[in-house]
């Protein structure tokens, strides 16, 4: 993850639920009430780039009577709804039937980031299993899509969703993959950014090796 990584920056814009631990007179605008004091205990959804440091930073207050209270943070935060219990239960039941993209376009990146901030051993295990079983499915689709003649008819429809190709891509690449018709359509639409990259790599790899094989035969 680099400083200039566009996806990392967009991941940091995801909002997570936070609770303020102190009164702050100037920050009412964060809770849609500019000019008012933001009261201690207010629940506000803040982007990660803001919440992370506010949660880590120490207020520096030293409470002589109760030293355990002396290093209080400005805010505490909870897991975002995208990683909530509902989603985790659904993932446990069947990872492939959950459209991760509807939860967050950067689902895994968000989860990884949250796990860096707080220990979530169960979540970690569920997500690992989720990725593995979905990756197999993604690889399967990537090989089918745009490969055989039978799925070519779906290409036109895929243009819109498939506009993710890099500058080096030729016209053919632009037309390929993602929103391709058939049973896989819903599943592929639910891929998060990371999975899309995986899909693209798997798809391009299959295509490239096929082209190479055909070239070898010609000679």
């Amino acid at each position: 993850m680099s400083y200039y990584d566009i996806d990392a920056i967009l991941t940091d814009a995801e909002k997570i639920p936070c609770t303020f631990q102190i009164d702050v007179p100037d920050l009412g605008y964060l809770d849609n009430q500019p000019g008012h004091t933001l009261k201690s205990g207010s629940r506000v959804a803040l982007p990660i780039w803001l919440a992370e440091m506010l949660a880590i930073a120490n207020t520096g207050a030293v409470d002589m009577d109760d030293p355990s209270q002396s290093s209080k943070s400005f805010i505490t935060f909870d897991l975002p709804p995208a990683l909530g219990n509902d989603v985790v239960q659904a993932l446990k039941a069947d990872p492939r039937s959950v459209p991760l993209r509807d939860q967050s376009a950067h689902f895994y990146a968000l989860a990884t980031h949250m796990m860096e901030l707080s220990e979530e051993p169960e979540l970690s295990a569920v997500l690992r299993k989720t990725f593995v079983s979905r990756a197999a499915e993604i690889a399967l689709h990537a090989r089918k899509v745009g490969g055989g003649g039978s799925s070519y008819h779906g290409r036109e429809g895929g243009g819109g969703a498939g506009g993710k190709s890099k500058g080096k891509a030729t016209k053919e690449d632009n037309a390929s993959n993602l929103g391709v018709g058939g049973a896989g359509e819903d599943f592929l639409r639910g891929l998060d950014e990371w999975e899309r990259k995986l899909f693209r790599s798997a798809h391009d790899g299959t295509k490239a090796s096929k082209e190479w094989m055909e070239n070898v035969k010609k000679r």
Binding site: I6, N32, L50, G60, V62
Partner: protein
């Protein structure tokens, strides 16, 4: 309710879109200015907040102020990152275009598809440049730098095609006037719509720049 950093986020979304395009979309002058303005406003706020303390600010005594200061600082830092990432995405693209042999005049004129995808790179063509003046400068200077680098090897063309040519000679059609060029077999005057049978090595650059079209 708009929040600090929202504009910067918009800029990064532009950058995200740019990554997936073969051409460079117009520079977001207004948005960049607005984000820079936001940073200046935040900086002013910080100065005002700190003024009464006369340089002896104690965060543990003034928790609320410390929190506001931190929020302002983080917002500025976020905006800075968004600005830098946006411009970096574009300069990466510009460098790629230079390596592909694009011409700054083409870019300045309107949106230019990467040389390979001329057919589908024509949407949004206006008369205004899609580059900021600074970017045009960057593009030119990077081009000079590349030329200087390439100049070290006279018998290798670093930006040449990696595909070995099938034929030494090819048919080309002239798409726009390119003037006279010198070849081993004498001078050729490239006027629009004329056709020539030439050595591929002599005209590769002109094909990449969109002056000539390879036939057959």
């Amino acid at each position: 309710m708009p929040m600090y950093g929202d504009l910067g986020n918009k800029l990064v979304q532009h950058a995200k879109r740019t990554q997936n395009l073969s051409h460079l979309p117009p520079y977001q002058t207004e948005l960049v200015r607005a984000v820079a303005r936001e940073i200046r406003d935040l900086d002013k706020d910080v100065a005002i907040l700190l003024e009464p303390f006369q340089g002896s600010f104690d965060p543990s005594a003034e928790q609320a102020t410390a929190c506001t200061l931190l929020v302002n600082h983080l917002s500025m830092r976020r905006n800075k990152r968004c600005l830098l990432a946006y411009h970096r995405t574009r300069t990466d693209k510009l460098e790629e275009l230079v390596w592909n042999g694009a011409d700054v005049l083409d870019l300045a004129g309107q949106t230019t598809g990467a040389p390979k995808g001329v057919a589908d790179g024509n949407e949004g063509s206006g008369t205004t440049s899609s580059l900021s003046p600074q970017e045009e400068d960057y593009f030119r200077q990077f081009g000079d730098l590349l030329a200087l680098y390439k100049g070290q090897w006279t018998d290798i063309d670093l930006t040449g095609s990696l595909e070995p040519p099938r034929d030494l000679f090819i048919d080309v059609r002239v798409l726009k006037d390119a003037g006279e060029i010198q070849t081993e077999y004498g001078a050729i005057n490239l006027t629009k719509n004329s056709q020539f049978y030439v050595r591929q090595g002599d005209v590769e650059r002109l094909i990449a720049q969109g002056y000539l079209q390879k036939l057959g």
